[in-house]
Each structure stands twice: as structure tokens, then as C-alpha cells.
Amino acid sequence: MSTPVESDEPTRRDFIHIASGTAVVAGAGFLAWPLIDQMNPSADTLSLATIEFDVSSLEEGAQVVAKWRGKPVFIRYRTAAEIEEARSLDVNVLKDKQTDSERLVPGPDGKLKPQYLVAIGICTHLGCVPLFDPKDTKGGEYGGWFCPCHGSHYDNSGRIRKGPAPTNLEVPPYWYMSDTVIQIGKEASV
């Protein structure tokens, strides 16, 4: 056997080591991904992604909880006084600055329908369902919702006013298919 010569030049053996090492790492990555991705939402879960709701069935001042993607969605028919209260608020007092109008979508005529507020009924703190009760203190100090788990208060626009929740109640993607029917899970096609 010949004595190996000391050299900084990469040898054929170095090349084989690096190439085979890279192939093993890449192969392990390809193998690992299906094992991880299998836990993501399945095809049938994803396919149940939209629902339709007829808002004309609501009474003024009331709220209906629709079920969308396994989550509760609040659909609330707000009174004129409540709309006025939500609109007159100075957004600078808010933790998550949003005007009431920014939390609504326009109807087929291009105008907002401020009487209907749609929001996902999941507290943005740790996922509890906030309570609704406009006639009582159970709905919180701001006439909206109150989360019993850790004490977050939302106003009637679903904006966080007090408590540990970091953001406003999420507004799901939805659009007015007609004057009275909304579809949740999809934005209006522009």
C-alpha cells in the first residue's frame, strides 16, 4: 500500500462522503415529511370549508351561533343604538385598532350592512367561547361578549376592550351571496 499523501485537495473519497451524507439527509427529510404532514387537516375536513346562512331569520338584538369548520361563528343583528356605540368609539383607545366598518363586508349593492356583525366566537386568548347577553352583565362591560375563562371583554363589534386577549374576535372570510344570505368560508370574488 502506498503512504497517503497529505494534501488539502478534496479526494474522491471526500466527495463520496459528502454526496452520500447529503443524500441520506435529504432522503430522511422526504421520509419524515409524510409522517409529520399526516397530522394536518385531512381532505374531508378541508372540504367542509364553507357554509351559508340566511340573516333574515335573525331578530333585532339577537345572535345566532353558526358552526363553521368546527368553530362557532357569531352572527349578531345589532340595534341602531349598538351600531352608534360601536361607530362613535375612538379607535385609539383600542389594543387592536380597527374601526367598526373595517370589521364588516359590503352587501350586493356595495354598501355596508352594519346591523349584521359576523365574527368567529373564539376568544383570541386561549380559545374559549365568549358569552353573549346584552341585557345582563354576563356579556361583559362593553355590551358585547365576555370570556369566562380569563376575563376578556369584547364590545359589540367584537373588539377587545379589557382583559388578556391580544386581538379582536377574528372576522371569518364571508360575503353576501344575496341581500340576505351570507356564505362563510369564502371572500367575495372581485
Partner: protein, 428 residues
Amino acid sequence: MSGQSNYNPKTGIEKWLDARLPIIRLGVDTMIFPSPRNLNYWWTFGAILAVMLVSQLITGIILAMHYVPHPDMAFDSVQHINRNINWGWMLQPMHAVGASMMFLAVYIHMFRGIYYGSAKNPREMIWIVGMVIYLLMMATGFMGYVLPWGQMSIWGAIVITNLFSAIPPEAAGTAVTQWLWGGFAVDGPTLNRFFSLHYLLPFLIVGMVILHIWALHIPSNNNPTGISIKTKADTLNFHPYYTVKDAFAIVVFLMIFSYFLFFKPDSMGHPDNFIPANPYSTPAHIVPEWYYLPFYAILRAVPDKLMGVVAMFASIGVLFALPWLDTSKVRSMRYRPLAKQFFFLFVLVCLGLGWAGAKLPSDLVFVTGVDADGHEVGLTFVWMSRILTIYYFAFFLVILPILGLVEKPKPRPASIEASVLGTDKGDN
């Protein structure tokens, strides 16, 4: 395991086996090894935990024969086990109460480790492996509580998985929670995978327990004096001396376990968990199992969501660093007059955090007066949690590091033997 083997195979079969698979030698050398002769009853909780782990494994495997991990059937299948399965009335509570008993034992085991300096040099790895076991126990216990699919099960799962939504959405917070759930909310896929993982994790715990005991056999046990073994006169063989002592403690512990199992099987649970899970209706007051309450109080003590989650995980993470945070050269707090007082205060703080975790944040600890609207005012539990959380972290991050440098320890005995026989004059 350090030092020579105590095993001398005598029969031909034993010699034949020992030359091929020395498994009897492993067993003998694990059980017959020198332990300090002064171990007190606080040292029996390791053996108690081993018994409880086996009990949980056996009852768990049996329950899995009858349990159905489906959102429409899980709740009923647990009722079915309790009402129809032969001995199910005993086996299901044995598993559920057993989890509480195991946490009770592990907390005593951990407090003992802190008090007697068992985490410190040269036992850091025993402590760290033990902390990994504790984390695995918490994950296992949490997922096990979800399986009966009652109101506390699902809402506990919702609140805990939502801890990961504290990660901002742009940093994959949403992707992580949906991956954990297998959907857009806690639902059937979540229940099914929790069942799978709840079955897996205890076997990882068994693996870590083997490492825990292996690491223990290198320096042998710590002891109430905290001083190291110097001569053979300081020791007794683990078997039969401590196997017998442990067995006695196990019997006493099992009597306490039996009291809860047969007379108060539901006392550690929550009545709301007898209501089937409803993802659209949050119970008025969500509480975790009692053994997580102190951490739940720390979570709620911080007004910011992300920082609350960070504080909660940090409260466990800081325990991993304990061997280095406790800077005192003296292991046992028996000889540390100041550390002893701070330690007992720390135990009270942990209990106080547990109390606060069980209450609504706005509930009052005590009333100091009445405000203008006639509502009672006073110290709220959220403020109590804040004060206690500060002490909890200060104990590890400020008190223990500084105390080791400034405290003047009391004289320690010359040896373990001297402390036992009372021949010690406290000359060092």
C-alpha cells in the same frame, strides 16, 4: 454499578446463562449496591413512583381494550367501562386516581430533591433526566384527561393547544395549532391522536426511568446529611435494607390510594367532566387537574398572552437549571438555616399558586372594603398569583444563587456513620 459485581453464579444453568446473557448479574448488581445508611422516609417516593408507573401501565392497557377514541363514543365508552365491564368500576378510577397519586408522589420526590440538594454535583444528570420524566408525565396526564371527552376534557384541550397560538400567525402559530388539531378546532382527529400519544408516552417514561436509575447508580443516593459516602461503614446494601423500608412505605401509600379509590374516586376530578364535550359551550370556569394548577396560576398572572405562556414554560424550565442555580457548597438544607426558611416559604408559595389556579382571577382572597357601586373590593386571586409568581422565580433566580455565597452554614457531621451513631462532634 461502579466497582465490582456482587454476583457469583453457582449452578451450571446460571453459569451457562451468565456467559451468554448476564441478565441475572444486571439485576443483582442493580439491587445490591451500597446506599447511605441514613435514608429517611422521604427517600421512599422513588420506589412508590415505580409502583405507580407499573400500576398506570397495567390499568391503562386494560382500559384501552374497552375505550373508543371517537368523539361520538368516547364519553359513553368510559361510562360503559365503569358500569358494564367486569371490575371496570375499580379499574377506571384506579387509573384516574392513580394519576393524581403519582403526581402527589412526584411532587414530594421533587421537593425532597430541592431540600436535600439531591440535584447538585455530582447528581445533575439524575435531576435533569427526572425533569424530563416530569415533563413527559405532564404531557401524558394532560392527554389522558382529554380522553373521557367530557366538558373539562375538551376545554382543557382547547385552552392548552391554544397556548401554541401565542406564537404569532406569521411565525407559524396557526400552522402549528392546526397541525396539532388535525383540523380547524379540537375535534375527532385531535382525540384520536391524543389517545395514540397517551399510549406511547408512558413507554418513553419507562425508558427515562431506566436512565434515571442508571445515573443514580453512579454516585449512589444522596442522603439527609448531604455529605458523600466516605467508607463502607456509611452504607447499607439497597437490598434487603431499603427494599424492605420502601415496601413498608409503598403499603402505607397504597392505603391512602385505596381510600381515594374506593371512597372518593371522583374527588380529584371535576363535576363538569360528567357532561359530554360540547365545543360550542364553554363551562363558566375551566380548571385543569389539581396538579397543574400552580402553572395555570402563573399563566394567568401575566396580562400578556405570549408572555404568560413564556412564564408558564419558564417556571418548569428554570427547574432544569436548579443544579447550577443553587450555588451553596452544602447540599442539605438541614445545615442551611436561611435556605431552609426560604425553602418552606417556597413550598407554601407553590401551594398558594395552586389555590389561586383553582379560583377565578377576579375572585377575592380577602375583602378590604366596598367600592362606590357597593361591590366588595380586596386582594384578587390574579394579584395574589402575581405576588407568588414573583417569589417563585426569585427563589430560583435570586435567592438560591445569592444565598449560596452569603449564608454561613451550620457545622456538618464528620461522616454519615457519625451522624447516625451520634459520635459526631461537628468538627467540620
